[in-house]
Subunit: 434 residues, 2 copies
Amino acid sequence: MEKKETPVIYAALLGLGTVGTGVYKVIKSQESEMEQKLGAKVVIKKILVRNLEKAAAKVDDPSVLTNSWEEIREDDTISVVIEVMGGISPARAYIEEALAKGKHVVSANKDLIAVHGKELFDAAHKSGSDFLFEAAVAGGIPIIRPLKQCLAGNHMQEVMGIVNGTTNFILTKMAQEGMEFADALQLATDLGYAEADPTADIEGLDAGRKVAILASVAFNSRVVFDDVHIEGITKITASDIRYAREMGCGIKLLGVARNTEDGIEAYVCPMLIPSSHPLATVNDSYNAVFVQGDAVESAMFFGRGAGEMPTASAVVGDVFDIVRNILSGCCGRIGCTCYKNLPIKKMEDVNSRFFLRFQVEDRCGVLAEMTTVFARYHVSVVQIVQEESRKDGQAEIVVITSRVREKDMNRALDELRRSECVSEISGVLRVYGE
Amino acid sequence: MEKKETPVIYAALLGLGTVGTGVYKVIKSQESEMEQKLGAKVVIKKILVRNLEKAAAKVDDPSVLTNSWEEIREDDTISVVIEVMGGISPARAYIEEALAKGKHVVSANKDLIAVHGKELFDAAHKSGSDFLFEAAVAGGIPIIRPLKQCLAGNHMQEVMGIVNGTTNFILTKMAQEGMEFADALQLATDLGYAEADPTADIEGLDAGRKVAILASVAFNSRVVFDDVHIEGITKITASDIRYAREMGCGIKLLGVARNTEDGIEAYVCPMLIPSSHPLATVNDSYNAVFVQGDAVESAMFFGRGAGEMPTASAVVGDVFDIVRNILSGCCGRIGCTCYKNLPIKKMEDVNSRFFLRFQVEDRCGVLAEMTTVFARYHVSVVQIVQEESRKDGQAEIVVITSRVREKDMNRALDELRRSECVSEISGVLRVYGE
């Protein structure tokens, strides 16, 4: 009997940083099983790098390295391009050129997809190519494919979660060890969890990109980065976290997307979340995405949201899926799933519960003044705690509201800020839940 | 411009019980979106039921009901068969006949797949059909597709979890309210979480079937129900749970499958698990599956493991995937992934940590006698707690061991059982972890 020859699928890797190196390793580690697993061998034929010399130490055979994108683009034997360079440019052009050439693309590039997702999907659709991006959200955690396939029978109502490991590490340290933000950030930097410039993480931009992508996939309607209201964690103090704990809550940087009757809500902000919620126990640099749909009820996906090997796990899962599509002749089988065009709700129209901390004059009538202001703007108060009086004639008041429109809350806070009795509004945080 | 006609895919539902009714509802609820989502409409053309009259109340159009399997089998317009009847016979024959006819099959039938999975996959392969079974493990939680696709770049080391909602509800009530097993079971029965005959749940059989399926998919090697060592929760007492809590642990019925160098370990038993482990916070009837792989590190999938709508969510996800395969002409794209033939480890060779409770004579030298026996069988003790003496001249001793081979542990316990100083071994539980 004649032995059938194993097909070989050639891939090119764009970038050999942390994730690229991981992808290289994972593909190597699967070498002996690929044939049985997929019916084909995947070979990385070219790796695009800036510095050939520096990259040489990271690969078995430096002859695969190149600094010419054109060399990869024009190589018709390369059918899969794995983009792990990050950034908008030149990644966008490379991906579009690869797709135009009929190559299939795997990308881990959330910055790009959160802004130009539609254009990339259109390009893939035009050439019948696959464009997969499991690694762009929550690293190694399977979430895109589960949403597009396993949960396809649902109308998803909400997708939210902890999608940035750096900030979750910082908030965990603040909660567990009473550290202040600056110290926890320093620790994160020392341990390599935070980058030299941590802005994208601590200001919530990274999480915002992931929320845009998650919302688009979950609600079948395009949400881009600019649609997402974003607040970071730089103003959170150890005492906010202590107060939250007294109220049975933790503070997490949550990315939230909700599909409501009057549009999609999409925002990232630090929020109080009840300690009994599964997300409240997601600590350190772990990520988790929580979804709610009309059939599945609730489900959560937990794991490593970043890192060399976990992110590579997601990338290689996509590559293997493309290989299966190539072998079955069904590339482009699942493309863009944004077939709706739902409006985006303005943040000022979003309803949330609020946790508020005020420094006030310690005298009779202050509470009455405050509650009068709240009532004027339809802010309904669920709980008021007045802390013990202090020597300076000031007292602290902590308020939890029921759901109130952002716009009304802001007006009430503006008026309270101007009022004589309130000397400082020292904390304004949203509370997750109804 | 001519409007292209939407393809219609006809499906048949075998069974209209809890899950079948859910599937019917979910497909109805997706009616208006299917065309855009999938490029086709899915229509349930026939539903196989035993009692036509009883079933009529559950559907809009009773003319779809039939009690003739042959009618479905011989209808060549029906390309997808959804088996939600459960049980081995006649489900097995129906599935095999459907596959032989070139129909695609979705099944939620863990009893069947855990025993005859290989035969069913072989039949699907032979006819180039899809055979999907996401709902057979952990209900609505996406886990089969994530393992087969998203995590395909990993060598999975472990897959374990809480895969039975009834027992998790019972153990949660015992832990949170101090109930004894019988009372918690009664409550579960009253609330409809436990069936009239709860044996399959409380004795661990249901969990065992899911472990067999999970292990097969995760390790690419067939594990069947008989390979899984099974212990239930009927012997767990409220005081076991109290002791566990004192040691910083909860008690959960865990299904565990590990891919070790000398074979696959697969077992279901109540285990102590540290309260800090993500699975320890999975309460009530929720399920969760925790996986470890060489690239992804650890990931967890949490949600509803049973129930009408969550299970239907998983079934319909599979149906939609088949529709996409039909439209792209790539049915059978991912079939059986068991390309290895790994040995199954005997339970007596499995290594575990143990939590042991002894009632002993309250006199000098008892500890020395016990530890001598332990040493003889290579049982290394990590912690011994002697509780305060009681009036009856007896004392309770709680022991935690390091990892020890099951066979050695059993020999040590046999000798201790015969020994004069031990009046009773009142608790033997494994402890999850290294």
